[in-house]
Every structure is written in structure tokens, then in C-alpha cells.
């Protein structure tokens, strides 16, 4: 029987390297997937421009953050970017409404097939992509300030006397808390408010909802506003935790879509679950359990092998294997999404 200290060490080790990063990355993906899924449920197309709109919202937030920093405004231990976030959200909402007005509305009036919308969103993606690079450039930008850590690994070791450290970054805490609040808000909005109910009705059956007097323009507008806000927040949280680089945001599109599809596209619950499934599957399969095992196993079972199922190069392969399996076994995703 391993000693209690060893068990604690193993637990802390696992929390520090798998649980905390997994929950953070999962929350980032979940927020992104929630935006994708809302657009898909109500407007019935996969918005490929999502990653770049995330970059746009983050860019505006960064620019405002820099301005706030230059005039000496700060939030103390919290990042200044939180103050700038409303500006980022507002700009993203305006951008989305503008794009909807001049691109997607035309295709809606033509009753175009979903694939036409997808292609149009691809065009929007390139346009926003170019716009972001034109304004802020293709380089890495850091805009985090304030207290970096809630708990530092070294301090944790000193405090507890354990071998293993535990670090929680402010941004990780913020990401999880904000994601939680937003998810609760989105569910409350969809279930309890008139606009939310109208959105769900429109999503379930467009003709029937029009017959019952729901204003389609208003539903579309509300959807864009919510999706844009979620997108901007997801982008800023991701940028605070890692760093802002337009190309990385574009790359995020893949895991975000994987999350939305695995969970069941068009289903808000699915987006959340999908985000965590993708994040944790990558972590758990590629994590070497050597140290973890050695803490728990009796002396004669100690090992020098890494106990790693798959090398980290395969981490993308893992999420896509899950995607393929889900599509084969349960094509609508874990939570029965909509397939048009």
C-alpha cells in the first residue's frame, strides 16, 4: 500500500499536468464550439470564419488594452484586457451584423443550400483573416498584465512539503469561471427568455415558427449577437492564457469543429461536452504515466519506461480518431445534433 504522501504527490502531479491544463483548454474549446453550434442551429451552416472572427475580437480587445495601459488604467491583479473586453465584444458584434447584412442575408433571401453558406463563410474567413493581419500584423502579441499566478508551483511545494508542485494561473481560473458563467447564461437565455424560445422554435422548424409570428430578422440578429459575444470572449481568454497570433486562431478552427461535431452539432450541451472530450482525450492518451505510476506502485513494480500510450505527435490524430468513431457509430454526435 503506497503511503499517503505518495498518493498525494501522484494526485497533485496529475492535477497539475493533466487536469488543470485539460479543463482550461476544454473550456476554451467549449466556448468556441458554443458559438459555432449556435450559428449552426439557427442559421443552418458551419461558419468557417469562426476562428478568424475570434482573432478579430481579440485584436480589438488588444488594441483597447494597449490604449488603457498607456493611459495608466489597470485592474490590479486582474488583466486589463477584461476592461477592454466589452469593446472587443461590441466590435465583433458589429462586424458579424455587418457581414450578415451584406453577405449571408442575400443567400437567405435566395433560400440557398447550406453548402453555399459554407462557401460564403470561407470567403468571409479569408477577408477577416487579411483584415486582422493588415491591422495588427501576423506576429505574436502579448497583452497580459496583472498577477500571473493564483498558486505558483514552487510556493505550493514549500507550503505543502510535497515533491510535486501545483500551479494555477490567473488566466486559467478566469477561463474556467467565465466559461461557467457564460454557459449558465446561454442555457438560461435559451430556456427562459422569449428571444431564446424564439431562437429554439426557429431552429426546430422555420416555417412553423414564422407562422406563429416570430420575426426571423430578430432571431438572426440575436443569434449573431450571442455568437459574436461568445466568440470574442473565447478569443480573448485563449489569447490571455497563451498568446495572440492570427495563424494559431485560424488553426483552432479544427479542434473547435471537432468539439462541436463530437458533442452533436447544433446542441449547446454537446458543444460543452465535446470541448472537454477533445481536450482530455488528447491529454490522457499522450501523457506518460511513469512518475504517476512510480508514486503509487510498490517498490518491486517501479519502472523506468515512460508508460506513454502514444507519443505527443499523435495528439491531433487522437481527436480525429474520436471524430471518425463518433461519426461512424453515432453520426449525430453524443447529444443527437441536427444534420441537415
Amino acid at each position: 500500500m503506497p503511503e499517503t504522501v505518495d498518493m498525494l504527490n501522484a494526485l497533485v502531479l496529475f492535477t497539475n499536468f493533466v487536469l488543470i491544463p485539460g479543463v482550461t483548454y476544454g473550456s476554451q474549446l467549449a466556448l468556441g464550439a458554443l458559438g459555432v453550434t449556435l450559428i449552426y442551429a439557427v442559421l443552418r451552416f458551419s461558419n468557417f470564419a469562426h476562428g478568424d472572427i475570434m482573432a478579430f475580437g481579440t485584436m480589438i480587445t488588444i488594441l483597447v488594452t494597449w490604449w488603457l495601459q498607456s493611459v495608466g488604467v489597470s485592474l490590479g491583479p486582474l488583466p486589463t484586457a477584461l476592461l477592454a473586453l466589452p469593446f472587443g465584444i461590441a466590435a465583433t458584434v458589429l462586424l458579424c451584423l455587418f457581414i450578415d447584412r451584406y453577405v449571408y442575408r442575400y443567400y437567405r433571401s435566395q433560400k440557398s443550400r447550406p453548402v453555399t453558406f459554407v462557401m460564403a463563410s470561407l470567403g468571409v474567413m479569408f477577408m477577416v483573416n487579411g483584415l486582422v493581419r493588415f491591422i495588427i500584423g501576423a506576429d505574436d502579441q502579448r497583452f497580459f498584465d496583472g498577477e500571473r499566478f493564483i498558486i505558483k508551483a514552487r510556493e505550493f511545494k514549500k507550503m505543502t512539503g510535497l515533491n510535486e508542485g501545483l500551479a494555477i494561473k490567473t488566466t486559467q481560473g478566469l477561463t474556467v469561471v467565465i466559461a461557467l458563467v457564460l454557459v449558465v447564461f446561454v442555457f438560461w437565455f435559451l430556456q427562459r427568455t422569449r428571444s431564446g424560445k424564439a431562437m429554439r422554435a426557429y431552429s426546430d422548424n422555420e416555417d412553423l415558427s414564422l407562422l406563429s409570428g416570430i420575426d426571423p430578422d430578430k432571431v438572426v440578429r440575436t443569434t449573431w449577437i450571442m455568437a459574436a459575444a461568445l466568440t470574442a470572449i473565447a478569443g480573448v481568454l485563449y489569447g490571455l492564457d497563451k498568446s495572440f497570433k492570427p495563424f494559431t486562431y485560424f488553426q483552432l478552427l479544427l479542434p473547435i469543429f471537432a468539439a462541436a461535431i463530437v458533442g452533436g452539432i447544433g446542441q449547446p450541451v454537446g458543444a460543452i461536452v465535446g470541448g472537454y472530450v477533445i481536450a482530455f482525450s488528447e491529454m490522457i492518451v499522450t501523457y506518460p504515466y511513469k512518475k504517476f505510476w512510480n508514486y503509487l506502485a510498490p517498490d518491486e513494480w517501479q519502472t523506468s519506461s515512460l508508460l506513454q500510450l502514444l507519443s505527443t505527435e499523435y495528439k491531433f490524430a487522437v481527436s480525429f480518431m474520436i471524430l471518425v468513431i463518433v461519426l461512424l457509430v453515432r453520426p449525430t454526435g453524443i447529444f443527437k445534433g441536427k444534420v441537415y
Partner: protein, 394 residues
């Protein structure tokens, strides 16, 4: 009759002179577009600077002029690089080539075009160890050191610091893989242990699982054979955040001011090395670069030296033919002879014309060894107080 004879004689001398003084063309074969276009923006002008310097001096081969012709390697697309080299050699008829830049495209252009046509290539920046042993008919040289050499440097530095165990991660391409293999080989041979040698992909959204794997394997130092503005930086960041590693070794792709600027004093105590010298030539070259309107950035000194060596070898061989100059290139680069610094190319050419010998030192203190590659001078750096400081040269 007499007049006609004089006229004929005059004509003969005139034509003899034009036969000696020719218009020599040198290809500048670098990745003007693609993965390292930001570096090439300075490397190209550096090579051209040497060519223009010689052309203006009129000292090469009885007053020959030298012009440069650009070709694009794209750094990554071997087919495009081969086509571009084909054009330089068969259509533009260049006498020799400065380039290519990245190891993969350089190999392709050398084997598919330069060797069949017998054209000399002097690369300023291809560092793959595989190029040391490649079959090249004596046509390939490089003013950059092989990463096999860097492996030795890394191993030496780690041993001097008394490090017994390292974890190693590399960017998943020819450069990263070659360098990681070289580091692992040398370090293991010298008695050290590599706990894990894992690749990472650049441009990904999250590196927690890579860092988790590296941390689980453990080690006193994490060696990050990656790129400073790519996955390499993200891995260091995530390692610091989780407390996985405190000390990092930074190979050439990771040495730059932007890293401590981004990560601050957390990086204190880390160290590394990148090609560089504190020689007189490097200082002179930096001034020449500023006057020439470009930055003396990575591999620019090597680019200038590559072009200079080609032209000095032409002078020593008394011919602009690749088949002749390839025999002389090592001679002009190494002792014995008068030391030649950047900006003194005309002086070197005169010494050679008078039958003397030169030892070209140039901007990168170049010394060619083995099959014609730079012995390699490295600048050792450390991060102190959130700043990159030079701690020595080796």
C-alpha cells in the same frame, strides 16, 4: 597596307582584352518567399553587397564585371527550387551560385541541377549534417557550420555546467530532427542521459500535453530545438507556467532578444549558443550592412562570405569556370596567406593577381574544414536579469 596591319593589330589586342575581361554572373539562390523570407530579406542584400563591391573595384580577372541574378528556393518546395536553379544555370548561365538556404531544397538543387551541370554552390545557411557526406563532385561548400558541430557544442556546454540528465524536444522538420539527433548522439556518448526526445509541431493551439510528457520524463534541463517565434517559445512558456522545468538550453533557432522580452526574468539562468563571432570582421560587416541599408541579422555574414569566397577562388584559379574555381575555394578560405576582412575584397584580389596567397577571414571568421564547410564559431549566451548576454565564444 601598313595602316591595315596596324588596324588589325589593334583589333587583335582589343579582342584579346575583351576575351579576358568578361561579364561574370553569380546566382543568388535563396528563399525570397516562404518560411524564412524575413531572414532572406537581409541575406540576399548581404551576398549582393560582396558582388557589387568586387564589380566596382574592377580587380577581378582583368577588370571583369560581376552581376548577380536572383533565384527563389522557397525554402521548402524542392520542385520549385530545382526549377529555379535550372533557370539560373541553363538560361541565365551563372558561373557559380550563392545558396541555397534551407537544407532540403539545397540538397535537391545540388543533386538535380548543380552536379549534372558542374556548377559550384556555396550555401550560407544549410546546416543539415547530411550535407557533410553528400556526393557532390567537390562542388558544394557552405559557410555555415553543420548541426553535427552544434551537437558537440551543446553537449560540451551541458557537461561544463555539470548537467547529467536532459529532456529534449525538437520542431518536427529536417532542421529540428537533424539537430536533435546530433545533440542526443554527442551528449549520450559523453555520458549524459536523454530522458525523452520528443517532437513538437509548430503553430498549434495548445502545448500542455507536450509539456506534460516532457515533465513526466524529467531532467535537469530542457533542450528546445525549435523556433523562437513558434512552438519553441510556447513550450518554454508552458513549462515555466506548470513548473515543469526552470532551466532551458537554447540552440541557434531559439537565440534572440524577443524571447527574454516575452518571458521576462522567469527565464533567468537559461543558456545556449548560436553561430556568431566577436571578430573584427563581424564589427566591420555590421557597419557595412547599416550603410548598405540592411540588418546584419542571422546568416547575413555567412551570405557575404559565400559570395566573397566564390570570387576570390575565381581570381586564384584565373578563371570564372566552376570546374576551376572549386579547386581553389578551400585555399583562399584558409591559411596560409594575408588575412582579408570584409570591405577588403579588392585588396585580396590584387594579392592573388600578383601571385600571393590570402586567408579570407571575412565577416564570419570563416575557416573551411572537412568537405568544405565552416568549422563554426559559436557565441555562447545566457539569460540574466531578463536580458540576453554574451558569455563567451567557442
Amino acid at each position: 597596307m601598313k595602316k591595315t596591319l596596324i588596324a588589325a593589330a589593334l583589333l587583335a589586342t582589343a579582342s584579346a582584352q575583351t576575351a579576358n575581361a568578361e561579364d561574370i554572373k553569380i546566382g543568388v539562390f535563396l528563399g525570397f518567399t516562404g518560411a524564412i523570407e524575413s531572414l532572406v530579406a537581409d541575406m540576399g542584400p548581404a551576398a549582393q553587397l560582396a558582388i557589387d563591391e568586387v564589380s566596382k573595384s574592377g580587380a577581378l580577372l582583368d577588370g571583369s564585371t560581376v552581376t548577380w541574378v536572383r533565384g527563389d528556393t522557397t525554402c521548402t518546395d524542392s520542385a520549385a527550387a530545382t526549377a529555379s536553379a535550372e533557370r539560373l544555370i541553363t538560361s541565365d548561365k551563372v558561373h557559380a551560385i550563392v545558396g541555397g538556404d534551407c537544407s532540403g531544397v539545397t540538397t535537391a538543387a545540388l543533386q538535380n541541377v548543380a552536379m549534372p551541370n558542374g556548377t559550384v554552390m556555396v550555401s550560407p545557411s544549410a546546416t543539415s549534417p547530411a550535407l557533410s557526406t553528400i556526393e557532390d563532385n567537390g562542388l558544394f561548400f557552405r559557410t555555415a557550420p553543420s548541426d553535427a558541430r552544434q551537437g558537440v557544442i551543446v553537449s560540451d556546454i551541458l557537461n561544463e555546467k555539470g548537467i547529467k540528465e536532459i529532456a529534449l524536444t525538437y520542431t518536427n522538420n529536417d532542421y529540428g530532427k537533424g539537430l536533435a539527433e546530433s545533440i542526443e548522439k554527442n551528449y549520450t556518448e559523453s555520458g549524459g542521459t536523454v530522458t525523452i526526445n520528443a517532437a513538437h509541431e509548430d503553430g498549434k493551439g495548445d502545448y500542455s500535453s507536450e509539456v506534460a510528457a516532457l515533465a513526466a520524463a524529467g531532467g535537469e534541463v530542457l533542450v528546445v530545438a525549435g523556433y523562437i517565434d513558434q512552438g519553441g517559445k510556447a513550450i518554454i512558456q508552458a513549462s515555466l507556467d506548470t513548473g515543469a522545468f526552470d532551466t532551458f538550453y537554447l540552440p541557434d533557432g531559439m537565440v534572440g532578444d524577443s524571447l527574454p522580452e516575452a518571458l521576462g526574468t522567469d527565464l533567468d539562468g537559461s543558456y545556449g549558443a548560436a553561430p556568431g563571432t566577436d571578430s573584427e570582421g563581424a564589427g566591420i560587416f555590421a557597419e557595412m550592412a547599416t550603410a548598405g541599408g540592411f540588418k546584419a541579422g542571422p546568416f547575413t555574414a555567412e551570405s557575404y562570405d559565400a559570395a566573397a569566397l566564390i570570387m576570390l577562388a575565381m581570381q586564384a584559379a584565373g578563371s570564372s569556370e566552376s570546374s576551376k574555381l572549386k579547386e581553389k575555394l578551400m585555399d583562399v578560405a584558409n591559411a596560409p596567406g594575408e588575412k582579408i576582412l570584409p570591405g577588403e575584397l579588392a585588396k585580396g584580389l590584387k594579392i592573388l593577381a600578383d601571385g600571393g596567397e590570402v586567408d579570407y577571414v571575412g565577416a564570419s571568421a570563416v575557416e573551411l574544414i572537412g568537405a568544405g564547410e565552416s568549422a563554426g564559431n559559436y557565441r555562447q549566451i545566457a539569460i540574466e536579469g531578463g536580458k540576453l548576454v554574451t558569455t563567451g565564444f567557442r
